[in-house]
Structures are given as structure tokens and as C-alpha cells.
């Protein structure tokens, strides 16, 4: 069940109607729990059972960690939790990746290994809910939060349907306290949530889904297309991935808000970043803060004796972040490229005077270079193989002019136009202006916007890109 499908709208209407008619917080939590499992089970009930089992196990581990005074026992339980979650992730997401990589490596050594006949289906959102579960037991282990005493509450946290399948990755220390009290929403918040939901829908359906066929055309047959078409396709993919993922996040935050819960900001205009470091403060914030807190800091972070060790930590963290995105070496390379760029940026920055905000030219140059780098690395992210990525990169840099096929050149204007729109919307606080309208005027504008949005619905639904992660 995708957020953009009519059946989700029906599901949401039923959920909200029943939820707000319940007066007891306990009943509401039971109801949200049942709805969340129904939502997840709409993909495959077997995975809903698996989610329940993992969550229950982590809840139990956390209770044992908190209940134990002995450090070794606490360590044992947290290790068991980490091992369980990583095993689930490893088996369901990385099994074929590791096996195929081993077969390829053996092949280079002239050993022939047969491919396994078993095919493992990837449960939707597995990377998100395992990371969320991991953060819970680790936080309890670090004594940053107390364990959740109620199994129901923990199951609801781990399966909360608005963010279950594609984030934002919710941290228990922000979410669990919200469950303690009966949620309420103000009219202003309802309007803001409705605005955010529509904004997400427009990003996903009207923009990302409409440009994706052009991206697919070029990436599926890169040799046939001209250099300009390749540049066009890369820019379009840059738009597609942002609108797809941030659109989902907006809708998830909006749906949670309609239930009275607040989730973390996940995107903050990442293509306006003026450095690669700034980009990672704005792109997929819930993941970048997760890997910072649980990988980078666990490796020692920046408190290392030698700067090279800080860079090592950074590279390992970014490589892990790349691998999190997909079970392929191209994703690892993408993470590596971003890690390397951050190292270069760190070194380069040492030779520049501080306070770049006082030098507009430097900010503009930084923005341009960052955006170009991000665009180029999306090639690695989107291309199915290194060969395709290399070909697309050469086309993008106009080193190789290639084929004769094209896609409409006017599509090149979409990226700059959307950047200007985003800048203008942030400057004038468009969301705030709309939400501050009196209810009847808000409804008028909202109705008009929906009429436009559904006329931009492309043929067929396309799943959210980040569902595969």
C-alpha cells in the first residue's frame, strides 16, 4: 500500500475517523498498532510476523540490559540484539550481494562456484526498521533512555505505519515520550499536516514519477543517447531522487502529525548546500545522524590522536552508509566518493579563511561545486553497473559524445526552475502563509491544488525509490 494509492487514502480516512473517536490513549495505541501491522501486512503477512518477532526480541533484550547491573551481561544482551538485527539485514538484504561477490572473487582466482538456487525476497523497509530497533537497544545500553516497559508501546513504536517502510528513522528518545500522553492536534497543525501531505504528493507524483521514464530511457540504454541527453537524465535523476524520497518523508511526517505524533525533519533543501558537509546535514537527516551516532562515534569520531584516523572513521562511516542504501558495489562506491569528498573538503577548508558566509562568491562557488559533485555521484547510485556508470560519467562530462537518441531538451530547465521555486518558497515561508489562511480560504486553495495535482498524475504508480532500501 503506497501513500499515493487511492486505497491508502481510504485506509487513512478510516484510521483517522476511528482514532479520533477513541477517548483512551491505551485504546488509541492498540488501534494504531493493529493498523500498522495491517499496513505492513498489505505487502506480505509473513514479513509482518517477522517484524513482530524482531521487535519483541529487542524489547526483551532492552529489559534485560536495563535490569542488569553487570557490565558483561549488558554487553552480552546488546551484542545479541545487534547480531540479530544485522543477521536479519544480512540475510534478507545482503545475502545475494555477498554470495555473488564471493562467486566473482572466486572466479578471478579460477575457482568456479555455482550460484545458489534460493531466492530471498527483500522485505519492504527492512533497513529502516532494523536501524530503528538497533538504536533502541544501543540507547538503552548507553543508558541514554530507559527501556519501554510495555510490549504494546514498543511494538507500536517499532511499527508506526507512517514511517515504517521508508523512514524517517525515528529515535526512541524522541518518539516514546510522545506515547505517554493522549495526543491532540490543533486546527493549525491539521492545516500544516494537510499542506505537507499535498506537498509530498506533488513532489512524488507530479515531479518524480513524471521525470522517471526519461531517466530510465537513458540509463537503460546509455550508449544510444547523446551527451546532452545524458546530462539531462542525470539532472532529472537528481530531481527524481530528491522529490521521491523527500516527498515520502513529507507525507510520513504529515500522516504522523494527523495522529498527533511528531517525527524528525528528514530533508532541509539539500541542493542548496554550499559544501558536501552541509549536504549531509540536509540530506536524509535521520540516517546521517544515525550513522554519525552509532558508527562514526563508535569508531572514535573526531577524537582521534591523528587526523588520518578521523578520516578513516569518516570513510568507514560513509562506506557503511553507501552499503545501507543498496546491496551493490556501486552503492559502496557512492558512499566512498562522498566520504572522500568530505575528506578533501576538510583538508581544503584548512587553507581557506573562516566565515565563508561573509564571502558570497565563495558560497556560490561552493554551492555550484557541491551540486555538480552530488549530481555526478548520483550516476553511481542509479547505474546498475560500473560500466554503465563510467559510460554515463563520460557522457556527462562530454568526453564521449556517443549515440544519436535524445530526450526533450526543455527538461533541462526543470532542475533550475525547481531550485528557484524552492528558494522562493523558503524565502517567503509559503507553507506558513497557506496554513495561516482562514479555514475556508485554506480549503479553497487546498482544493485547487489537489485539482492540479491529480491532473499531473502519470500513467501507473511507481513505487518509492527508497522502498528498496
Amino acid at each position: 500500500m503506497l501513500f499515493v494509492e487511492p486505497r491508502f487514502f481510504l485506509f487513512l480516512a478510516v484510521v483517522l475517523s476511528v482514532y479520533w473517536s477513541l477517548r483512551s490513549n491505551s485504546l488509541r495505541k492498540w488501534f494504531v498498532l493493529v493498523c500498522s501491522y495491517y499496513f505492513y501486512g498489505s505487502w506480505d503477512w509473513r514479513f509482518a510476523v517477522m517484524l513482530c518477532a524482531i521487535s519483541a526480541a529487542d524489547w526483551w533484550f532492552a529489559l534485560r540490559i536495563a535490569g542488569s547491573e553487570i557490565h558483561q551481561r549488558r554487553k552480552l544482551f546488546v551484542t545479541a540484539s545487534i547480531a540479530m538485527n544485522l543477521t536479519v539485514l544480512g540475510v534478507f538484504k545482503y545475502f545475494h550481494f555477498f554470495v555473488n561477490s564471493a562467486i566473482a572473487a572466486a572466479g578471478t582466482l579460477h575457482f568456479k562456484l555455482d550460484e545458489p538456487t534460493i531466492r530471498i525476497i527483500l522485505p519492504v523497509g527492512v533497513s529502516f526498521f532494523t536501524f530503528q530497533s538497533l538504536s533502541y537497544t544501543i540507547d538503552v545500553y548507553r543508558s541514554e533512555i530507559p527501556p519501554v516497559p510495555s510490549l504494546r508501546d514498543y511494538l507500536m513504536f517499532s511499527s508506526f505505519f507512517p514511517q515504517l517502510v521508508a523512514g524517517p528513522i525515528v529515535r526512541p528518545k524522541y518518539f516514546v515520550p510522545q506515547m505517554a500522553s493522549l495526543r491532540t492536534v490543533s486546527l493549525e497543525e491539521v492545516k500544516a499536516a494537510m499542506y505537507l501531505f499535498l506537498l509530498g504528493y506533488i513532489k512524488k507524483v507530479c515531479i518524480a514519477d513524471n521525470v522517471s521514464p526519461f531517466v530510465d530511457q537513458v540509463f537503460n540504454h546509455p550508449a544510444a543517447y547523446t551527451g546532452l541527453a545524458s546530462i539531462n537524465a542525470v539532472w532529472l535523476y537528481t530531481i527524481q531522487i530528491f522529490c521521491d524520497f523527500s516527498g515520502y518523508s513529507d507525507m510520513a511526517i504529515a500522516v504522523a502529525a494527523l495522529l498527533g505524533y511528531k517525527l524528525v525533519l528528514n530533508f532541509d533543501a539539500p541542493y542548496l548546500s554550499d559544501s558536501i558537509q552541509d549536504f549531509w546535514r540536509r540530506w536524509h537527516i535521520s540516517l546521517s545522524s544515525w550513522i554519525r551516532d552509532y558508527i562514526y562515534f563508535s569508531l572514535g569520531g573526531s577524537r582521534m590522536k591523528y587526523r588520518i584516523l578521523v578520516y578513516r572513521n569518516l570513510l568507514i562511516t560513509m562506506l557503511a552508509g553507501g552499503l545501507w542504501h543498496g546491496a551493490a558495489w556501486t552503492f559502496v562506491a557512492w558512499g566512498g566518493a562522498h566520504g572522500a569528498a568530505q575528506v578533501v573538503h576538510q583538508e581544503f577548508r584548512k587553507h581557506l579563511p573562516p566565515k565563508p558566509s561573509q564571502e558570497p562568491w565563495r558560497r556560490i562557488a561552493g554551492w555550484f561545486l557541491t551540486l555538480q559533485f552530488v549530481c555526478m555521484t548520483w550516476i553511481l547510485f542509479r547505474a546498475p553497473t560500473f560500466a554503465t556508470a563510467w559510460l554515463m560519467l563520460r557522457r556527462y562530462l562530454l568526453i564521449d559524445h556517443g549515440g544519436a537518441m535524445t530526450i526533450p531538451a526543455w527538461l533541462l530547465a526543470i532542475g533550475p526552475a525547481l531550485l528557484l521555486v524552492q528558494l522562493a518558497m523558503r524565502r517567503c515561508d509559503a507553507g506558513g502563509a497557506v496554513c495561516r489562511l482562514p479555514l475556508t480560504w485554506f480549503a479553497l486553495v487546498y482544493g485547487a491544488a489537489w485539482a492540479f495535482a491529480i491532473s499531473m498524475l502519470p500513467l501507473g504508480y511507481r513505487p518509492f525509490i527508497y522502498f528498496q532500501f
Partner: protein, 398 residues
């Protein structure tokens, strides 16, 4: 622990280094900013709207929606011309043949596969009915699509250069009323289901039908009409129109096919068809079939819309292998506002046994090219006989 790489451990950005303030105002309040306790961000209770305000809001929502939907709909000049899979290629063929073809066959895949314009024209050559035709049938089509295509065809029709030619509009009598349910949310349906189309479909019901059938047929048309007037996907289709499928177009225009689609010959399939024909019962059942009011209405509408006078209409019932077990009996002709429309019922194994040979079938419901040639020649022969007995076809443009 200080991080040089991302934001501080307990800080989400409220401003960024470009100096642009991050999301603020009511929308920003939806986010759980990590530097604040969730207990601090409990929503401010505010007076809830009363029933009157809610109804007013629903009313203005509908008003805003309808106003913009109307404006978008008015801005889309011809929804039929929006991209709609294989119909788009057929429209290209129709445009290219404008002024060069004065007759066309319409319908579903049975016509798309089973009507050979060249064979039809050759069979009529030298007769008073001679014409030049094209195949505008579309696989997966329906009566509603056949109506849209036929109306578009007659509106662009030019009188033939020679006044001695006939103009035939050949319609498939037994095409389905609507598309299949998976085509409901699809440009094939959405683009054409305006109010006249929905009304036309509602006239394709018969009293003998079950309530479920009638409700399903009309309900589909109404649902598609709602999607049509709310422009679902139309603007996307206009702005991000996919290119016409050149492979499909080439397959339908090579060797003067004029829209006919030809499958590859497959001896295995031919053997399967032979087995299927042999398995059919020896005794065919013949059941009476009724002409629905919509079939008559369609002729009236097309005749009224035609840019030239004297267009002749033909209804064709295309054959299927299941006819060997059960075949339908149609009248020889129907009368539509004074126009007598002959019905060529090829789905009669007793009348056309030569069509029911394994080598003429692509599958159990579609003729192959050999079958199409034979069927098209049979239609032409039947028309020559019929018009010889009924005073000849009217002169096109006269």
C-alpha cells in the same frame, strides 16, 4: 562529542550556511526538533471549528477543486490527442492517410488483427463500391473507443477526388462496451469518457442483462467520466508526453498494412489451433442476438458528425473459434434514422466455414494475416451483394 562532519549531536539545523532560514512557521512545528523535549512541543489547544465552519470549508474545497479542474479541462483542446499507448500510433496513421483513405474499419483487436485494408480494397476494385480503406481498430479496444475513433475519422474526412468512390465506416458489432477494469485508470479510458460517451455506454445495456452486468457497465462509464472531468493524468500526459512508439508504428505501416497488425507465423500455434478446432462440438448452437440501442445511436452520431455526406455504414461481427460451439444470429441490417446499415456476420461457421481453418488463426480469437485477407474479402463480397440488392451505396461527398 563534537562532530566536524554533521550537525552537533543534539541539534537539527534551523538555519543553514547559505543564510536561508530552514522551514519555519506552522509546518516546522510538525517536526520534532531534536533540541527540544517532545513534552515542550505539545500542540497548542485551539478552538476547533464548528459544524457550520466545516461544511463551509468542504464547500470551498469543492469550489476550488472544480474551478481549477474546469480551467484545466478547458485548456486541453482535444483529449483524444493525448498520448494513450497504441491509440496514439493509430491517430498518427489516420493523420498520415488523411485525403488518401475514405473508408476505415474500427473496433478491438479482432479488427486490428483481422481486417486487411488491401484485400478489402482489391475485392471492391472496379465495382461501384470501390474505395481505399485503412485499419483503425485497436487491440484492447471497446465500443467507447471505436466511437471516439470513428467520430475523429469522419470529422477529418475529405470528399474523395473521384466522385465514384464509396466511404465506408465499418464498426465492430460485438466489441465490448467498456475497456477492461485495469484500463479504467488509464488514458485509453480517461481521455475519451466524456458525458456523451458515458450516455452512449448506458445505451449499450439490454433488459436481458443481469443487474450486475448493467450496473457494472454503466458504473464503469460513470467512474471513467468522473476521472475524465477531473483530468486525472491529463496534464501530465500533455506536458510529459511519451514519444510515439516507432516500432509499433513501423509494424502497422510497413508493406502498405495501413494499420493492420500482423503476428509472426508459428507452426506450433497452428497445430494448437487445429487441435482446438477439432475439439469443438460437431453441432453448433445458434442463439438470437439483439441489437442494442447504443448501436443505433452510434450510427446516428457518426453520420451527424461527418464532414462529408454519403458515408456508408457497416456492422461486422468478427469470428472466434468459440463460434463453432455457439454462434449468434443477427439481422441482415439495422435501420438508424433512415440509414440502412448492413450487418456482416462473419461469426457464423455455417455461413463461412472457410474461415474456420487452423492456418488462418493467430490464436483462438484473432485471425492471422491470411485469415484477415480472407475475412476482408468476404466482407467486401457481402457488401457487393447487399448493395446490389439495395440500390447501391451512396456516393461519398455527394
Amino acid at each position: 562529542m563534537k562532530s566536524p562532519l554533521w550537525m552537533g549531536p543534539n541539534r537539527l539545523p534551523s538555519t543553514n550556511s547559505t543564510g536561508v532560514s530552514a522551514a519555519k512557521g506552522p509546518v516546522a512545528r510538525l517536526y520534532n526538533r531534536a533540541n527540544r523535549s517532545p513534552l515542550e512541543i505539545m500542540p497548542n489547544p485551539e478552538k476547533n471549528p464548528g459544524a457550520r465552519e466545516l461544511f463551509a470549508a468542504l464547500g470551498t474545497f469543492a469550489a476550488g477543486f472544480l474551478a481549477v479542474a474546469w480551467a484545466i479541462h478547458a485548456a486541453i483542446a482535444d483529449p483524444l490527442r493525448l498520448h494513450a499507448d497504441i491509440r496514439s500510433e493509430k491517430l498518427v496513421i489516420m493523420d498520415e492517410m488523411r485525403g488518401r483513405a475514405e473508408s476505415a474499419a474500427f473496433g478491438s483487436s479482432h479488427i486490428h488483427n483481422g481486417f486487411n485494408p488491401g484485400a478489402f480494397d482489391r475485392a471492391l476494385a472496379g465495382s461501384p463500391l470501390q474505395t481505399r480503406s485503412e485499419n483503425l481498430g485497436i487491440a484492447g479496444g471497446s465500443q467507447s473507443e471505436q466511437r471516439a475513433m470513428a467520430l475523429a475519422f469522419v470529422r477529418q474526412l475529405k470528399p474523395p477526388a473521384h466522385n465514384s468512390r464509396a466511404c465506408f465506416v465499418m464498426l465492430e458489432l460485438n466489441a465490448g462496451a467498456n475497456f477492461t477494469s485495469d484500463h479504467l485508470v488509464h488514458p485509453r479510458a480517461i481521455d475519451i469518457y466524456d458525458w456523451p460517451t458515458a450516455r452512449f455506454v448506458s445505451h449499450l445495456v439490454e433488459p436481458q442483462m443481469t443487474f450486475k452486468q448493467r450496473a457494472g457497465r454503466t458504473g464503469y462509464a460513470l467512474a471513467a467520466m468522473a476521472l475524465h472531468y477531473t483530468n486525472v493524468g491529463m496534464l501530465s500526459n500533455l506536458i510529459f508526453a511519451p514519444p510515439v512508439d516507432q516500432t509499433q508504428l513501423a509494424g502497422e505501416t510497413v508493406d502498405d498494412r495501413r494499420g493492420q497488425i500482423i503476428g509472426l507465423y508459428d507452426p506450433v500455434r497452428e497445430a494448437a489451433m487445429a487441435r482446438e478446432i477439432a475439439a469443438e462440438p460437431k453441432q453448433m448452437q445458434l442463439a438470437p442476438a439483439t441489437i442494442e440501442p447504443g448501436n443505433i445511436q452510434l450510427i446516428d452520431e457518426i453520420a451527424a458528425a461527418s464532414a462529408v455526406k454519403g458515408v456508408s455504414f457497416v456492422y461486422i461481427a468478427m469470428p472466434k473459434l468459440s463460434d463453432l460451439a455457439l454462434s449468434y444470429l443477427y439481422p441482415d441490417a439495422v435501420d438508424a434514422s433512415g440509414i440502412e446499415v448492413p450487418i456482416v456476420n462473419l461469426a457464423r461457421p455455417d455461413l463461412y466455414p472457410q474461415l474456420y481453418k487452423a492456418g488462418l488463426w493467430q490464436d483462438d480469437a484473432h485471425l492471422n494475416d491470411l485469415g484477415a485477407k480472407m475475412a476482408s474479402a468476404l466482407v467486401a463480397d457481402r457488401l457487393k451483394q447487399w448493395y446490389a440488392a439495395h440500390g447501391g451505396a451512396p456516393r461519398c461527398g455527394g
